[in-house]
């Protein structure tokens, strides 16, 4: 059922070619721009797409393992709504203009606060069940989204554009420094998840079984959720809210390479990264002279493709 190493290598090569190909597409026309500024901008954008896609996919894989739920994604515990709210508050209060790291820092702090709140609500007798976690995550997420809506509806025109940009998601990089910082943080987050690959395998069998095979479950789950928050919050602060990638890429990749996290995590990172970069290339060229929101492309382009993979190889993914 599973792909053999040569096939995986071929896929990697294909991914790299696709990534390079993305550089050819842009609003200024087909081909690599001769203007160095424009070229750098496009390169930054492809890189941003790659790191954000990789972060969201990895976070999705990790989340699905620790929550043992096929619907889990980085946003399910309200993390993204919290991060979005944090970013919006930073923008509207004017703090975001005082330093490039204020915005991602605010997003991260709010995402973490949301996660802690979700845990406090879900916890009973020192233990938080998966269902109560998801339920309180959805509730806290909705509350954050509502506050965000409130801020949008009452804010002045200048802040509004930035916030709407957030909610639609965009890979337009506002500063190279921000991209560098986010890329480094995301690399750390992915490396951290990879270090937990063995434990994630065991946790997929449930916390009890993981305990029996020698995993310190509470610590591992806490660390893993921290990494998910780090990855989700960082990608939100770089590119706003981009859905779908963190949910569907893990499933598709799992059905291709199997459930073992040592393979699943790096493959999901690469596939997710290439996927988002390609989607972004499409978003900026499909309509002449105008850019589409990236979320539209991820769902319209990626949806059918991943559904096809899932249907074709269902048996090696989640059972239903």
């Amino acid at each position: 059922m599973k792909l053999k190493p040569p096939a995986i290598l071929a896929l990697l090569l294909l991914g790299f070619l696709l990534l390079a190909g993305c550089l050819l597409f842009g609003a200024s026309g087909f081909g690599i721009p001769t203007n160095p500024d424009l070229r750098n901008l496009r390169l930054a954008r492809v890189l941003a797409g790659f790191v954000v896609g990789a972060a969201l996919s990895c976070a999705g894989v990790t989340m699905q393992a620790i929550l043992r739920n096929p619907l889990a994604e980085p946003y399910v515990l309200g993390v993204s709504s919290g991060a979005g709210l944090g970013a919006a508050i930073a923008v509207l209060s004017g703090l975001a203009s005082t330093g490039i790291l204020i915005l991602p820092a605010s997003a991260f702090v709010f995402a973490t606060l949301t996660l802690v709140l979700v845990f406090v609500i879900a916890e009973r007798n020192g233990h938080a069940s998966v269902y109560s976690l998801i339920l309180s995550g959805v509730i806290i997420g909705s509350i954050c989204s509502s506050i965000l809506m409130f801020l949008v509806s009452t804010s002045s025109a200048e802040g509004l554009r930035t916030i709407i940009w957030w909610m639609l998601g965009s890979l337009q990089v506002s500063s190279y420094e921000l991209l560098t910082v986010c890329a480094v943080v995301i690399a750390v987050g992915i490396a951290g998840s990879l270090m937990l690959a063995r434990e994630l395998d065991a946790l997929t069998l449930g916390r009890e079984t993981a305990h029996y095979v020698g995993v310190r479950t509470s610590v591992t789950v806490a660390v893993a959720l921290g990494l998910v928050t780090l990855l989700a919050a960082t990608s939100v602060s770089l590119a706003g809210l981009i859905g779908f990638v963190g949910l569907i890429v893990p499933h598709a990749v799992r059905s291709l390479v199997g459930a073992s996290h040592r393979r699943l995590l790096p493959c999901a990172a690469i596939v997710g990264g290439v996927f988002l970069a390609v989607c972004d290339a499409a978003a900026r060229t499909v309509l002449d002279g105008r850019e589409l929101p990236i979320g539209v492309i991820t769902a319209v382009l990626g949806g059918p493709f991943f559904l096809w993979i899932l249907r074709a190889r269902r048996r090696s993914g989640w059972i239903e």
């Binding site: 063995r198 069998l205 993981a210 305990h211 029996y212 989640w318 059972i319």
Partner: protein
């Protein structure tokens, strides 16, 4: 380690999921290296809790659990997993691991963060697959396996831990006979060839008796017995703990112990087919109806009012009843029908029904039976409060019957007990 050294010690262990409710209370025992011990007891007696506490999953509220001489709560997780492995009751696998990948999860505590599995890891996985006969299925998706194969795959994961103690929690309960035996034989081989200490919980007393040299019997969180199967599996002890009659048989040639549950015994105490008539009403006879129905008596009931819950219960069980119109006093005609139904009854039982002017005439059915020399059993509990006739007529008539030889019963279990004694023993 020498053979007689205890590897598991429970010292006055109490465990509760909450502070107020104790699931295990003051349990003490020790298990030596290489023993095969069965943990038996009814549902909710604390078997799973005991195993979870032993695996360090639950912290005891009192006492200590020592594994290899060390308090299990202080052993680091990775080290603990090398000493002690647990095969869970039923493993839910949400994603598709292959058999080999699943077995490798057993090596989690041994594996490096980034390095591939060492030769030692691979050897242990190989041996676990060999022991569980999963070599040929190693690349198969675990989700595609049958129940027995899946349980063997989970066993392989546990064996890959190369533990010196293995705990099994009801691992055979979902399996058929053949696969049950397969799993138990793997356990037996491990014990024999590698001197692995085994503690297994089971609802199947026959399997426990067959494979374990020693049994621990749990009852409401306390240790009720600890000894050889012959010592523990006695009808008296099992009846006390399981509240259920059993017959224990020893095969004279193999000395194997076999336990049969209660149903086959009912013919010895009760008398199926014996006609019984019940005087009830207002739901007072429902428990009684159920008891006599399942014991196989030939039952009639009446007179009851239509719509009464006893009437509904009788209808549901297909029991013949003499029935009066709803909310109406018992008429002569329905009483005659009741007398007719009860004419053949060897025993008439009067339940703890409330009496009023409307139904006090029902007592005539019992009085007639008594006159005929048949056995009459009358519930006497809180009779004063149940008598709503103006002149305490019901109480008087019942007391008179008791003077004349009717049997008073103070509770429903009393009635059941009397019913199960043959009617002929009554002194005229």
């Amino acid at each position: 380690m020498d053979r007689m050294k205890p590897v598991i010690e429970f010292e006055h262990v109490s465990v509760g999921y909450r502070k107020d409710a104790s699931i295990l209370s003051d349990v003490s025992f020790s298990i030596n290296k290489g023993e095969t011990v069965g943990l038996i007891g009814p549902n909710g007696s604390g078997k799973t809790t005991l195993l979870r506490a032993l695996a360090g999953l639950l912290r005891p509220a009192g006492g200590r659990i020592l594994v290899g001489g060390t308090d299990v709560m202080t052993i680091p997780a990775a080290q603990r997993s090398r000493m002690l492995a647990t095969v869970p009751q039923e493993l839910e696998l949400p994603v598709a691991f292959t058999v080999e990948e699943l077995a490798m999860i057993g090596r989690t505590a041994f594996l490096g963060r980034f390095a591939p599995p060492s030769n030692e890891d691979l050897n242990h996985v190989e041996r676990a697959l060999l022991y569980t006969d999963m070599i040929e299925l190693r690349h198969r998706n675990v989700l595609e396996l049958s129940g027995g194969e899946k349980q063997r795959a989970v066993m392989a994961m546990t064996l890959a831990q190369s533990p010196s103690i293995i705990l099994l929690d009801e691992v055979t309960s979902h399996l058929d006979m053949k696969h049950r035996l397969e799993i138990m034989e793997i356990v037996q081989r491990l014990n024999r060839e590698q001197n692995v200490t085994v503690l297994l919980s089971s609802h199947d007393l026959n399997i426990a008796a067959e494979f374990c040299a020693r049994l621990l019997l749990l009852d409401h969180g306390a240790l009720a017995a600890d000894g050889t199967p012959a010592d523990v599996l006695t009808p008296l002890l099992l009846k006390k703990v399981y509240s259920c009659d059993v017959r224990v048989e020893r095969n004279p040639s193999t000395d194997a112990i076999t336990i049969f549950p209660a149903r086959r015994l009912s013919s010895e105490s009760g008398s199926p087919g014996t006609p019984i008539h019940i005087v009830g009403g207002g739901g007072s006879a429902r428990g009684l109806l159920r008891h006599v129905y399942f014991r196989g008596y030939s039952v009639t009931i009446g007179v009851l009012n239509e719509g009464d819950s006893d009437t509904q219960a009788a209808a549901a069980l297909g029991i013949r009843a003499a029935v009066e119109k709803p909310f109406s006093p018992i008429s002569g005609a329905s009483l005659d029908r009741g007398l007719e139904l009860s004419a053949a009854a060897e025993t008439v039982v009067v339940s703890d029904v409330h009496f009023g002017p409307g139904n006090v005439n029902n007592l005539e059915i019992a009085e007639r039976a008594l006159e005929r020399g048949h056995r009459v059993i009358i519930a006497t509990c809180s009779l004063e409060e149940r008598d709503h006739t103006p002149s305490r007529e019901a109480e008087d008539r019942i007391n008179l019957m008791i003077q004349r030889g009717a049997l008073p019963a103070s509770s429903s279990s009393d009635i059941f007990h009397m019913l199960d004694q043959p009617a002929a023993t009554r002194q005229q």
